[in-house]
């Protein structure tokens, strides 16, 4: 299946990789780009469609103002110029995922152009030049039936769902990225991670790679060391996780190096990434002329005023790394704590929980331990868990006030996740509050001492660590509701 590849270090000794990255982002607007159909993932097939997004004759598109606003904000966050006047165009092609036989897209007049992104990989700074960010619409979704594996070849027929057709998309295209050297695959991954965080901070997209709301096409070509002419590139399509971006580029670099080193020529083509760790050739690239672009006659030009752009500029959050540093300082997290929170995608939920009055360290603890474990088990992102930052803050308040201990808190989390109510109300109705009443606890302590005479004797002899057995007994008897610190105090007062 896979082709010959060269050792990575060996490839790097002879060649310099040049990257080009195209990222498609689905906007999270309430409606589609050109019609009022709801913009939603996971609905019943063809239930979010209308004459416009089905391309029925005579239907006329109407531009979603919010999508334009999001496009401009994305452009600004990418340090781009915002066009003073631009149009949509028709990109003509015939394929069943597009009913109109053209995609409404921007062509030579993108809404945003000439920007850059700055990022760091292992302490080394890189600047990624941005060519453009333009608006377009997504296509429908095909399912291939028959054949071996639901793939198009060998299929007997295909089924089309147009719910996704007309979803607002922004395509962000880099200029050729030089000078990344052996770090090219890591830089590409860091760039897409940067975009993901930035778009999430802007609040313009769900940026879920696994659901396709953030998709990356990764181009790479190789230049012999010391050369200045670009090599022929391959384009690996829809590499849909950060890890795959790094792996696919690593593979493509090694594959191209093997071809070039043996005197061959790299073919300009689209390739597909397979999670087993290799790419395979797809269709050879249609040239731009084949799409016969022309200005969309059904939509008038877009001319954002300077005032509007300035207004939107004021809504752009700091770049993710700057924001992280601010949060780290404000929350007093260590480098490691911050990195863990970033990797878990927990910054947003921690911030929201802190905003509800929860101490930052406690918010971090809940989201990165108990809740992260449950999210993992359920294959959900933290912010998809059916518990709100406000509920987490409420839970922490109960713990801090000594009303419940950590064991009970975990039970409360389970109940909240099961949709059974809010923490305070659950503690109240289920009588989960910690028993710290001296009389009740003293009785339990007496019983524990009587039933664990050995442990009790050890404590009397000064072997204080034996206290654990007694505390355990009391906790068991109270079904976890006893205040452990209080129990310890009582035992030590009695035996110590």
């Amino acid at each position: 299946m896979s082709e010959e590849i060269m050792d990575y270090a060996e490839a790097m000794a002879s060649f310099d990789p040049v990257l080009g990255l195209e990222v498609h982002v689905e906007l999270n607007t309430a409606t589609k780009m050109f019609c009022g159909c709801v913009n939603q993932f996971g609905s019943a097939p063809n239930s979010n469609t209308c004459p416009v997004c089905l391309g029925l004759p005579g239907a006329l598109p109407a531009v979603n103002a919010k999508a334009i606003e999001s496009a401009i904000r994305i452009g600004l966050a990418l340090n781009c110029e915002i066009s003073g006047w631009c149009r949509f165009a028709r990109k003509n092609y015939f394929y069943p995922d597009m009913t109109k036989n053209f995609q409404t897209s921007q062509y030579d007049e993108p809404i945003a152009f000439d920007g850059y992104v700055e990022l760091e990989v292992e302490g080394e700074p890189f600047r990624i030049p941005i060519e453009r960010a333009h608006m377009e619409e997504d296509a429908g979704k095909l399912v291939h039936v028959g054949g071996a594996t639901g793939r198009i070849q060998g299929a007997d027929y295909s089924l089309v769902d147009y719910n996704r057709a007309g979803t607002p998309l922004i395509e962000i295209v880099t200029k050729p990225v030089y000078g990344t050297g052996a770090k090219a695959p890591q830089v590409a991954k860091a760039y897409v991670a940067f975009l993901r965080d930035m778009l999430r901070d802007l609040g313009v997209s769900d940026v879920r790679m696994e659901q396709g709301s953030l998709r990356c096409d990764a181009n790479v070509s190789l230049m012999p060391k010391g050369a200045s002419e670009l090599g022929i590139r391959s384009e690996t399509k829809n590499v849909n996780s950060l890890r795959s971006i790094e792996q696919a580029l690593n593979y493509e670099i090694r594959r191209q190096a093997a071809i070039l080193a043996s005197g061959g020529k790299v073919k300009q083509e689209t390739r597909h990434w397979h999670e087993e760790g290799y790419t395979s050739p797809g269709r050879s690239k249609e040239t731009a002329e084949d799409y016969r672009y022309f200005p969309e006659p059904d939509l008038v030009p877009i001319a954002p005023s300077r005032e509007w752009v300035d207004e939107l500029r004021a809504t752009i959050p700091s770049p993710p790394d700057v924001r992280r540093q601010e949060l780290q300082a404000r929350w007093g997290f260590s480098e490691l704590e911050l990195r863990d929170a970033v990797n878990a995608g927990a910054l947003g939920v921690i911030e929201a929980t802190v905003a509800q009055g929860c101490p930052p360290q406690a918010a971090r603890k809940w989201w990165l331990t108990e809740l992260a474990r449950r999210a993992n088990e359920a294959h959900l992102e933290l912010d998809e868990l059916p518990i709100t930052p406000a509920q987490v803050a409420e839970l922490q308040q109960l713990v801090q006030a000594g009303t419940i201990n950590d064991t009970i808190a975990r039970k409360v989390i389970d109940a909240v996740l099961a949709g059974e109510g809010d923490p305070a109300q659950l503690v109240e109705t289920r009588q989960l509050a910690t028993v710290s009443d001296d009389d009740a606890l003293s009785d339990a302590v007496e019983r524990a001492i009587a039933q664990n005479a050995d442990a009790a004797q050890k404590i009397r002899d000064g072997k204080v660590q034996a206290v654990g057995a007694l505390i355990g007994a009391v906790m068991r008897e109270s079904k976890g509701k006893a205040d452990a610190a209080k129990v310890r105090e009582l035992i030590m007062a009695r035996l110590g």
């Binding site: 309430a30 063809n46 531009v63 006047w85 269709r283």
Partner: protein, 98 residues
């Protein structure tokens, strides 16, 4: 203006229309005539007159981001030649490798 047979064949292929050599011979000059007629416009074009893509001098015609009802699934699929699993069923897609 001369539209070549090769160009017409290429356009036919892009439009997924298969044309015989005889049809190409027949259609190319006709298309050429149509283009020539449209090209008349170029005669009145002046460097002072900017090309336009729209009849009305409007910009920024936007719609608020408010959900409107979609069609029902039954309405959507009512005109489809074939339906399966609430989806449009289309013939095998040829000429594309994955």
């Amino acid at each position: 203006m001369a539209l070549s047979i090769t160009e017409v064949a290429r356009l036919g292929a892009l439009a997924r229309i298969s044309l015989t050599d005889a049809e190409l011979e027949h259609l190319a000059p006709q298309l050429d005539l149509i283009l020539e007629a449209v090209a008349e416009v170029a005669k009145v074009a002046d460097p002072d007159i900017p090309p336009t893509s729209h009849a009305l001098p409007l910009v920024n015609v936007f719609r608020e981001d408010e959900v409107r009802p979609s069609l029902t699934n039954a309405q959507v699929l009512s005109a489809a030649p074939a339906v399966e699993d609430e989806r449009f069923r289309v013939p095998r897609i040829l000429g594309e490798e994955e």
